[in-house]
Symmetry: C2
Subunit: 224 residues, 2 copies
């Protein structure tokens, strides 16, 4: 494999999925090459930052021509590891687990949901996105069978740590946590948390500064 041997800065890693999405949307519009400015606009970042980020991947574009969209998409996909197969299990099949199981963005980018697990026996056997809900107790066997490396937690907060511990015991070393709670894990395990309310809080911070609101007086926000 020809993945960069050096570590890419974490902030750059976090932007690679954004570039990938922008490149996909350019390809959807049948745009085959683009300047760094065009790609930066599509990705919503400034072009100097984009060029610096891509230089970590050894991609510099061609003067006067720009970047080959398809090749750059391949380079980024390979760098992230999306040219590999990533078997994933989702634990907790409530509304959010359902949404994740149905989410085309997962399956289309190298991730393959091999099992949906839930502790609720009455749900076992139910098909979600063509995949049956199975008992959480089968986790260890499923991880061994499919070589699962990534576990997704979509349980309530109260169950998340126990689920995480079981995932680690089964050999999973990368956990994506949607439960609104901080998980404790050993050092060699990566956890990323998607806190659905954080982004709303960041919006509120900016919204508050756009127009003076009257504290505690709903409905007076002066929306045009």
């Amino acid at each position: 494999m020809t993945v960069s041997p050096t570590r890419i800065p974490e902030a750059t890693v976090a932007r690679l999925p954004v570039y990938l999405r922008a490149l996909n949307s350019l390809l959807d519009s049948d745009i085959r090459s683009c300047s760094s400015e065009e790609l930066a606009t599509a990705a919503g970042v400034n072009s100097a930052k984009l060029r610096k980020d891509l230089s970590h991947l050894g991609s510099y574009g061609t003067r006067g021509v720009g970047y080959d969209v398809e090749y750059l998409r391949y380079q980024i996909s390979r760098e992230i590891g999306l040219t590999q197969d990533w078997p994933v299990v989702i634990v907790g099949i409530g509304n959010l687990g359902h949404a994740l199981a149905n989410f085309s963005g997962f399956s289309s980018r190298g991730f393959r949901t091999v099992a949906l697990l839930d502790a609720d026996e009455s749900r076992h056997g139910e098909l979600v996105a063509g995949c049956p809900i199975r008992d959480f107790g089968e986790l260890g066997q499923i991880v061994r069978e499919h070589g699962v490396a990534i576990g997704v937690i979509a349980t309530p907060a109260s169950a998340a740590q126990a689920v995480c511990d079981q995932m680690i015991a089964a050999g999973i070393r990368s956990v994506l946590n949607f439960a609104p709670t901080v998980l404790s894990v050993p050092e060699d395990v990566d956890v990323r948390m998607v806190d659905l309310s954080s982004e709303l809080q960041i919006l509120a911070y900016h919204e508050q500064r756009k127009a003076p609101h009257v504290e505690g007086a709903p409905g007076t926000e002066g929306v045009a």
Copy 2:
């Protein structure tokens, strides 16, 4: 209002929700004061960064005592704007919209879902989290009535831009987008995007570097 008049760095703003979550979990464990190291551990950041971030809010703690957990939580909540009331509409009540409507993390932090809207007539009147699903055509009236400032888009990607345009026409200036597509908006509108697959991609990047995978050979990832 006593919100900081100066802009806080964007990276600090993004960490405020993380500190808030850590403070809430300390209070849940009945911890009333904490050192910057303790809070940094609970939040998963380094303590020098935490002290710097909090200094932007004018919070320095007390030597030998540390931070008053409840007061710091109040300061951060006020800074973000969570001591105000934020009426929110959610558009697109599929599985994800359902999950968001039911998500306690929204309602418990100053956000109040005033309406759930969906284009599918057959769903109208259905109750989700105690709130009836209404017609998307009522958006303008609902925004005026409740002074809605924040709109949440949980539709398929194909519908998201049209929904966003309607939100802006109705006076909404802050949009939280869960649809996997980049939205075009005027300069005075803030959009934040939650891309559910980005975090999975970032995990894959790190996972790939933990152990050598064999490209294209599923099930050989060498999980212990």
